[in-house]
Amino acid sequence: MAEYEIGSFKIELDLTKPLYEQVLDQIRHAIARGEVELGSKIPSVRELALQLKINPNTVMRAYQELERDKLCETRRGQGTFITTSEEKVMEIKKSLAKDALNVFVSSMKDLGMDRSSAQKLLEEVEWE
């Protein structure tokens, strides 16, 4: 496992998982957590590939998917920028929260919990 810091991003790569998914996931999470400023520029494909020592096509693939989700936008000759839309950020936050909930639900099911007992536990759990 290797860790890299690029500007406001921190990316960790694990060679036992698809690399493009890790780049994509970690940028998505950084946006959802508000760790990157809306409208700010993210590293160029070249910069990120050189820093992470990965194939530029891998970075490109991740960036293209971010663009498809409208989380990023590439302006010709200027670089790639994070969306300025709070709405998009909420959307991605919700979708990541849903993923986390699905994991939660399946581990509850795994333990033989039904919905109401899981809900009860959730209400009792400490947030702090």
Binding site: P18, L50, K53
Partner: protein, 231 residues
């Protein structure tokens, strides 16, 4: 999907020793492919067959649909596993020489790579460290606008920093579009994140070939796959 290299039942013997046996292999155009396997698996022989330095005993090999030839070699940049260079040259004269002999040598690109690999153009080749010489050799290949780039053991016997510079040089060279690069190496850990495709050769055969990201999806690094295959 276009193939850069295709072999059909390729066989090569040195005397009575078979080094490549009935090999069917395809290497995709526009991708970085890692060619992995233990010593004696036939990696260098295969790469030599691509540039026509080794003549197959039977079977066929085609590069972009053509037979290996001197004409075709102008489309291929080949870094042999052992290469020499004029010791009395400076880096600058060596590059000038490369420009005059290698088809498709791109000077601005070579300068970019020199910067990337932190080589000083006024240094004499004989005073370069082994790692720096390897970087220079690599520039001769990567700075060429050719359809296929073959790097046979570009990292072997080279210090960590130079290995990292070589990797950065390779990344830099892929930046202006997809290139077909075949890299044979034992330094899997350091280079695997560059690979889009990977071929594991074993003595005379293919053990496994596939998409690098798909293999990672199965929860293993390429280095681990290698260990599992050859232990």
């Amino acid at each position: 999907m276009n193939m850069a290299v295709e072999t059909i039942k390729l066989t090569k013997r040195y005397g009575s020793k078979i080094v490549i046996d009935n090999l069917d292999l395809s290497i995709e155009e526009g991708k970085v492919t890692g060619l992995l396997g233990p010593n004696g698996a036939g990696k260098s022989t295969l790469l030599k067959a691509i540039v026509g330095l080794v003549k197959p005993d039977s079977g066929s090999i085609s590069i972009f649909g053509q037979k290996p030839s001197i004409k075709l070699n102008s489309e291929i940049a080949y870094l042999p596993d052992r290469a020499g260079w004029y010791q009395f040259h400076t880096v600058k004269t060596a590059l000038g020489y490369a420009k005059s002999v290698f088809p498709g040598f791109d000077e601005p690109k070579s300068e970019e790579l020199l910067k990337q690999m932190k080589l000083d153009v006024d240094m004499k080749v004989e005073t370069l460290s082994k790692g720096q010489q390897a970087c220079l050799q690599l520039i001769f290949c990567l700075a060429r606008n050719v359809r296929l780039c073959i790097l046979d053991e570009p990292f072997s016997g080279i210090d960590l920093i130079s290995r990292e510079r070589i990797i950065q040089g390779i990344i830099e060279s892929i930046m202006d579009g997809s290139r077909t690069i075949i890299i044979s190496t034992h330094e899997i850990y350091e280079s695997e994140s560059l690979f889009e495709k990977v071929v594991f050769l074993e003595e005379v055969h293919i053990k496994l070939a596939g998409d690098a990201e798909e293999l990672r999806r199965q929860g293993d690094s390429l280095e681990n796959v290698y260990r599992r295959l050859y232990r």
